[in-house]
Symmetry: C2
Subunit: 160 residues, 2 copies
């Protein structure tokens, strides 16, 4: 059975998921109240509806948290493992006309890496557990990276 | 020969690169003036030293650019394919004391995905080529994703 397509959507002939140029290792999981059906539209909505979330890392990565501080902003990168990877034009319900995948934040993309800018609210270095202010992904979503958020790097230059 | 370690650095017993929980597909390459030896320290330094860079996508992803505009800020995600993936504590030259990988923007990390917030300066939709204002990675770096940068999503909440 071919996958469901909405009007105007375009898929590649060959699913990018069939090609592996590099391998990702899951370094932990996000714990959130969200699952299919009750998840917020985006991180802004999540922030209004929730009281924090947790990142549980594989304990062997505990030393890699050295130097992070409560209150610090971080980028969390996670893998949207249920996403479709073959759509190049998509018609999400909230968008007026079909749009290219790279013009959307949809989880469906050739490499389903999502990211959120959040703040650290708690740190358990021994158990490699990080409290964060909010997240909009499902409970159990695999984590692939954590980086310090830096204004000089993560805000684009003014439009001149 | 074991890989070179600086004082205070800590590596995992087992390289995360040996585990593949998911596969990444390279969707294109970055064209920049940088190679080993002449690369800038970060995107801010790159911006001062260069006159733009180019992203050349695999042409099958051309439709995925529909809706992007010149002047728009985007996030470019790329794969630092020469990075070490086993370091959990690192001592980069510019940092005073060894620090955890997740407290650094070093390319060396379990999943070497880097990202930059840049602006689109040119768009060739037919050939899937994007001009951007600057980038700090080597010429030929593989690209894994492009996303619209959104202030409401990509700036962390105020520290309360």
């Amino acid at each position: 059975m071919p996958p469901e397509m909405r009007d105007g959507e375009v898929a590649l002939d060959r699913d990018p998921a069939e090609t592996t140029d590099a391998g990702v290792v899951f370094i932990g999981r996000i714990r959130s109240p969200w699952s299919r059906g009750n998840a917020p539209k985006n991180i802004r909505a999540a922030r209004e509806e929730m009281d924090g979330a947790t990142i549980e890392l594989d304990p062997r990565f505990a030393p890699a948290l050295t130097g992070l501080k409560i209150g610090q902003p971080i980028l969390v990168l996670y893998w949207m493992h249920d996403a479709r990877r073959d759509l190049v034009i998509q018609a999400p319900r909230h968008v007026d006309a079909p749009r290219g995948t790279f013009a959307l934040r949809s989880p469906n993309r050739p490499n389903p890496v999502a990211l959120s800018a959040v703040r650290i609210t708690a740190l358990d270095l021994e158990n490699a557990v990080i409290g964060i202010d909010a997240i909009d992904c499902f409970d159990g979503t695999p984590v692939v990276d954590i980086k310090p958020w830096l204004e000089t790097v993560d805000v684009p230059p003014a439009n001149t």
